[in-house]
Amino acid sequence: MKDIAIGTKPIRQPDERSMAEALRITLLIFTLATPFFLYMGLSAGQVKEEYRLSKLVEHRRILLKEHERLLLTRDALLSPSVVDTTAREKLGMVEEDPQEWTVGTPPEPGKQGGGAEARPPAKRDRADTNGSPAPGLHSAARTSRPAPAAPPGASRPEAKKAPVASAQQHAVPAAPKEKGRPEKASPAVSGASVKAVPVAKPPGGPARPKTQGRRRP
C-alpha cells in the first residue's frame, strides 16, 4: 500500500490486495449465509406444511370417528325392531297375514269380479281353507275372481282323508283349540283380495284406519 501525502498529512490509499481480501470475505459470508437462509426458509416451509398436515390428520381422525358413529347409528336405525316399530306406529302398516281377508279395488265396468268392496267385512271362515295362498302370494287372480263364500261352519271333509301333502298345501291353520272352550262359529267371507282402497264402510262394522290397507284381526 502506498501513502499519498497531501500537505503534511499522509492519506492512506487502499491497495489492490485489501480489496481482494474484502471481496473474498464477502463471498465467504454469502456462501455461508445462503445455505443457512435457504435452510431456514425450507425449514419454515416444512414446519408450516407439517402443521397443516397434522391438522388434516386430526381432521381425518375426527371424520373417521364420526363415520364410525354414523355407521353404528345407521345399524341401530336399521335394526328390525326399529323398522318394525316405525312401520307399525309411524306408517300404520300391518304385517301380511294370509288368513286375513282384504277388500279389493272396485273393478272397472265390464270387467270380471265386482262387488267385493260392497261386501261387509265378515271374518273368514276357518273351515274355508281351500285355495288359501302361500304367504306373500296375494295374487291378482284373487282380486279378479273372488272365491264363492262358504257357508258358515262349513267343514273340510277332504282334509282328513287326503294325503298329507295335498291336504296341507291347501290348509289354513285352524284356531287353536283349548279344552272346554267352545270354538266360535265365524261367518264366511269371499277370498277377494288385495291392497287397494276406497272401501265402503261395513254396515255396523268398525271404521278402518285410513292408513291401513288391511284390517287387523
Binding site: K65, E68, L72, P80, G136, K177
Partner: protein, 565 residues
Amino acid sequence: MTQGLVPSRLRLFGVFVAVLAVLVVGRLAYLQILRGGYYAALAQNQAQERIDVDLPRASLLDRRGFPLAASTQCPSLYTFDPQKLTDPVGLARAVAALSGRDADDILRDLRARRKFTWLARKLPFQDYDEAKAICGRFKGCDLMEEAGRYYPNSTLAANLIGCVGTDGGLTGLEHHWNDNLQGGTRSYLVMRDAVATRLIPMEMVPDVDPKPVAVRTTIDQAIQFEAERVLNETVAGLNAKDGVAIVLDPRKGDILAMAVAPTFNPNEPGKSTINSWRNRAVTDSYEPGSTFKLITLAAALDSGRFRPTDTIPVGNGTLTVGPKTIHDDEPPIKAIYTLEEVFAHSSNVGAARIGMALGEDTMYHYMRLLGFGQPTALHLTGESAGRLRPPKEWSMLSLPSLSFGQELRCTPLQLTLAYAAVASGGYRVVPRLLPDEAVAPPERILKASTCEALKDMMGRVVTEGTGKAAAVPGVVVGGKTGTAQKIGQKAEGGRRPFIAYFVGVAPLEDPRIVCLVMVDEPVGKIYGGAISAPAFSKIVAFSLKRLSYPDRPSDSDMALMGGPP
C-alpha cells in the same frame, strides 16, 4: 536406613493403590459387563414404561353381515381439579341430564374430591356431541374416549350373544368366544419423568386404531327378530314364566335363531337380573313331554321291531304299571291304534307299550344316539347335558315314563337336534354358529326309511292330529305337540306346572327348517297344540319367506310351464 524405608512404603502404597485400582476396575467390569444387562434393564424400567392398550373387540355379524355387536368409542366425562370449577352445580345438572346419574351424587363427588374425578363413564356413543357440548360449556370438564361395546339391535339375540364387562365377555358368545373376539393388546413404550408422570412420545401413538375383525354367525337377524317377537307375544299373552324358540337349518346344522324370553338389553346389562341373562335354550333342561314320542317311535321303527302300520292296544286310555296308572290326555277314539295313530293322537299308553316292548337297552341306545344326556357340539358356556339316567338306575316305571317324555330332562336345543336328525333323513346334525366352520362329515344314525315314516307321521299330526294350528298355508309341515308336566315342581303366580311344546319340520318333503317353540308354565292354556303350535306356524311362515322358499323354478321348468326362461 531412612533411605531404605521410603521406597518400601512407597512400594506398599503403590501396591495398595494398584490393588484398589484392580478392585475398582474389577467391580466396574462386574457391574458393566457381567451385570450390565440387568442394570441396563433396571435403568430402562425406571425411565421407561411399557403400557398395554386393549384393541377393540371383533364385531359379531349375522349371516348376512348385519351387525349384532360392535365395538365403539364411548365418551367419558371427567375433571382434573373439581375445586377450580366455576359452575359445579350447572355441570352436575348437565351431566345428570345426559347420563342419568343423580345430580346430587355428582355434586357431592365434586365437592369432596380434590383430584381427578369421573363425572360419567362410557356414555352411549350417540351422546358424543352432547358430551362435547358440555365440555365446551363448563371449563374444567374434559372428555375422554373409552373402548366400549354396542349392540345396535338392543335386545335382539341378547341371550345368545351375551354381554361384556370390564374384563371381557360375561355371558353368551361374548364369553364363550372371548379369546377370539378380543382384539389383543398393543404395547407402547412411554418415557417417565421423575414424578412418574407418563410422557407418551407422540410418534408412538397411532393416528387411527386398526379396524377390528368381524365374526360372522349363522344367526339370521330377521328370523331371530320374528322368532323373538312371536315368542314374546306368546309368553306375555299367557303370562308364562319363560319361553324358547329355536330355528335351525337341518341341512348344515346352522342355528338361524335362538330366541329366549324373558330377555335383557346387553347395552344396559346392569338394569336386568342375572337370571334374565341365561340362554335357556342351552343352559336349562326341561321335561320334553310328548315331543319325545318321536324318539320312541324312531327306536321302534329303526330297530325293526315295529312297522308304521303295526297296531298297539290302547284300551280305554289307561295303563297300570306297578303302583302307577298312565293316562292318555284324551280318551282314545278306538281301542287299538297303529303306530301312526299313537303319534298323531299323542297316546301316552301307546307310547308306553311301545317303549316297554322295545326294552331298556334299545330305548337307551336310541336316546343316546339322538343326543340326549350329553351336551351338544356347541359346548356353549353353561350348557347343560340334560338328565338321562343309565338303565341300571331306572325303576319299574322309568321305561314307560321315558317313552312319553317324563323322567328325563333335555335342553330345547337337544330336542331340536333330535328332530333335525329325522328331518335330515337320518344323519346326525351337528349344530354350528359359525357359517365358515366346516360341516361335520355325515354320520348316519337312523335308517332313511325310518325317517320317511316318521316324517309322514309328523305330517299327520298337523293335518289330523293335535297340531293343526301349526299348519302353514302353502307349505307341508309336520311336527309334534307336547305338554309336559313338571314333576315335583310348584308353579308360582297362578301359573300351572306345565310346559307347552311344538317341534316341527318345514317343508316336510324337503326340510329347510326345524323349529321348536317352548312355553314354560303358562297361565290358563297349557296345551302345546294351542300355545306353541300357532307360534310355530308364524315363525316358520316368516322364516321360509326369508329363506326364499319355494325356490325359483329352474329355467327348464319355467319353459315347460310356458313362462319366461
